[in-house]
């Protein structure tokens, strides 16, 4: 790549405003997540052209269209492999991945587990509304037992997936949970997630005001309790995090469940990238390397 002209300037919220306004339903939880991400980027002062926002398909996955970065609106459930490819090809980019609970834990579940264990250095935000929003309200993998939807009108009979325990079991090096209704807390969590070197996962309660009448803002607000408020909670203790992940009911923990910083990231562990971002390396190989390949065949 040739050299770019960059006029350094302080990033403000307006710099992250997308070309169009979100077309989410008024009151949708996703607005808050968008705002928190934009605030986090402003606070971290990351220039928008150095950020890639990758999503799948869903209401939540329309996110890249509403934030002014290099956006990719990919296939339902496939944001993580796309984001991994992007990060491996240019690890100088800050990579954010956004999507829904259906996108990430349903159809995308396999990628979620594998991207996690690979410790790809990106922040994965699941805008978890425990329902399929864009397809007009079906059960999702995080819908609670008994919840009635168009696809399970007599109530869900499947135990929901626990994203926090799953991420921990898959070897995530940063696991958090946020609530779109607590902007300050969420923004801080997102900042930490971006700063973390490795795979950061944040499950964000982001109520669907149209299709989820069980898990609403009103339902969550009195229940969420910040882990940060408990001074004895140690986010480096994996077993403690696992134990906390089971808590659900009158009290639901949010915050940073777990973080470890001793594992290499995928791009860090790859010697080929030691010479810099792949996209900035020479597209041609040295002549002697080419010759060695032919010599092997003679």
């Amino acid at each position: 790549m040739a050299t770019d002209i960059v006029t350094p300037k302080a990033m403000v919220m307006a710099d992250y405003k997308g070309k169009v306004d979100p077309d989410w339903c008024p009151g949708c939880g996703h607005f808050g997540v968008l705002a928190a991400v934009q605030k986090a980027l402003v606070e971290l002062q990351i220039p928008n052209h150095q950020v890639a926002t990758v999503s799948g398909i869903g209401c939540s996955s329309n996110f890249p269209g509403y934030i002014d970065t290099y956006g990719m609106h990919t296939l339902h459930g496939r944001s993580l492999p796309v984001a991994t490819g992007l990060k491996m090809a240019n690890h100088d980019m800050t990579v954010l991945v956004t999507g829904g609970d259906g996108d990430g834990f349903g159809i995308g579940c396999g990628h979620f587990v594998h991207t996690t264990r690979r410790n790809v250095d990106l922040l994965y935000l699941v805008l978890d509304n425990q329902v399929y929003g864009l397809t007009t309200g079906q059960t999702s993998p995080t819908s609670r037992v008994g919840m009635k939807t168009k696809s399970m009108p007599f109530g869900n009979i499947e135990t929901p997936l626990n994203p926090i325990s799953l991420a921990l079991a898959a070897g995530a090096t940063f696991v958090g949970r946020g609530f779109t209704g607590d902007q300050k807390h969420l923004t801080e969590l997102i900042k930490r997630g971006i700063e973390h070197k490795g795979f950061s996962f944040i499950d964000v309660f982001s109520p669907c005001v149209t299709y989820n009448h069980d898990n609403t803002f009103q339902w969550f607000r009195p229940r969420v309790k910040k882990l940060e408020d408990n001074p004895s909670y140690d986010p480096s203790d994996w077993i403690a995090a696992m134990e906390k992940s089971l808590q659900w009911g009158d009290e639901i923990p949010i915050g940073r469940f777990f973080e470890r910083n001793d594992l290499p990231t995928l791009h860090g562990a790859e010697p080929v990238l030691a010479k810099g971002a792949l996209v900035k390396q020479d597209i041609r190989m040295p002549a002697d390397v080419a010759k060695s390949f032919i010599d092997e065949l003679m």
Binding site: I5, P47, V54, G71, R78, P81, A89, V279
Partner: protein, 592 residues
Amino acid sequence: MRQSFSVGIGGAAGQGVATPGDIFAKIFSRRGLHLNAYNAYQSIIRGGHTFLTVRTGPDKIPTTDGRLDLLIPLNQDTMDRHLRLLSLGGACLYNSDLIQPGTPADGVQLCPIPVSQLADLSRNKVAQNTLAIGAALSMMGIGFPAMESVLEEQFRKKERSVIDENVSLARAGYDYATQNFKPFAWPLPTTDARYAVLSGNAAMAMGGAAAGVKFYCAYPMSPSTGVLHWMAEHARTAQIMVRQVEDEIGVINMAIGAAHAGVRAMCATSGGGFALMSEGLGLSAQAEIPVVVIDCQRAGPSTGVPTKTEQGDLWQMLGAAFGDYPRVIAAPLDIADCFKLMPEIFNLTDQFQCPGIVLCDLLLAEGRLTVDSKELDFFPTIDRGELITSNGSGDHEPYQRYKITESGVSPRVIPGIPGYTHTVSSDEHDEDGVLISDEYTNNAKRRAMMEKRMRKEIGIAAAIQPPQLLGPANADVTLIGWGSTYGVIDEACELLREAGISANHLPIRWLVPLHGDAILDLLRDARHTIIVENNYSGQFARYLRSETSFTPTGHIRKYDGEPLFPHHIVEAVQEQLAGKTRLSIPVHEIMV
């Protein structure tokens, strides 16, 4: 008839069929001979039956054949199955301690090797293999030193004693044969040429590397796994990031992510894995992110026959992902072409920002061929198309990712450059990348965007070469093939001419877009046209018809998992010219 010599080596998987094959290949190619090798094997790691054919000669060897000059059975099963492939002048070298000879055809020399007399079997379990190679070389009229140096190389990672032992075993075999067996009538010649020997998989991997691939990912799947293995082994020298992914869906999407970031990205699979990738092709087309997918065909449907060849994926390629979108699909004609095609298709997909598919098959992917190393051009033309790689002065028009242009191509930008942020999308979108369907649905914009994308087809068609008719103009028969049938038809034409039937050959390399009009022009005066392909339903014949209405006079098809041999085509042409049938399905003579 081109002069050639065929060796067949058979045994159970794990009995070490590959090593003698490698040794023969090295010895032949260093003698300046061409060769073509094909291994008929089974999806089983130990046991079963494997049969490797190596055919060599001073001219290009476009294919292997069912006729053998030398058979080396490593077990009784191989003797029983394949002795009948030898005819007058042929020989069979076998371990007479273990194997009962069958009844050979007239003029076939049975050459028993008393292995336990010549070797200490307690020390070397595959002694029979090395003895047989030594004996074979003697009979072929090849001096022993050639063998010695190849053995040194072959076992270079082993201890000295292993090398020495193998050399002395080979020597014993060599001497035993010199004393006891009749040499072949045609001693193998030498030439001054030196060829590289490689498989199609290695060729495609190297071709990709030459094209500047920086990111390769795959999920293992026969017969494409060789591409992954080459890439993985050479990743560090070639500075290519190689990833094994959790599944093929992850593969194509990861490749698309890397391609969007600005590097050339490639992946390979076979039919079943391709099915899983097909949704991703639509993403590549709609978001206009170039990506190259190699599909190495194997016999289907479904898991099918994983170790057997077929050309049965064509319609899957044609139908991959729903909706209409521009793309490039090409089938390499031979192993050298597996290399050459890669930079070409990367240039096209970069120029037209669309997916490209290389439709290979097991025959080429796992076969091996001698290639002039000059044909392996590691510094081909690289054209990345309209790609913005810097913001220049920093001043520019507001950027529109999907700007409507005459060519259908809208300049692409490498993410990370200031002032060009935008969103690419799998949803239909407007010129800015804003989602039409989610923001407002506008059927006029939708139509314009469809037409913009589809206009690229014109540019692609203009950028690729129309097919050429090979051979005499006014032939008795025109054989039409695609991809890997190139070699076998080439040789069949030669045999037909010798049999008094003039034949020419229309090989199709670019499948999509197809130069239908050019093909019709070439076939206008053809007297008798036959489409030759390795599948049941005539997938190419049906496709050609869909584009041109053309129907050939006849068809030659095969779907038993094995490739066509030249004489299959010759006999089929003869029966078709005699009016006996319009569809010939040759019976395969090598039973594996």
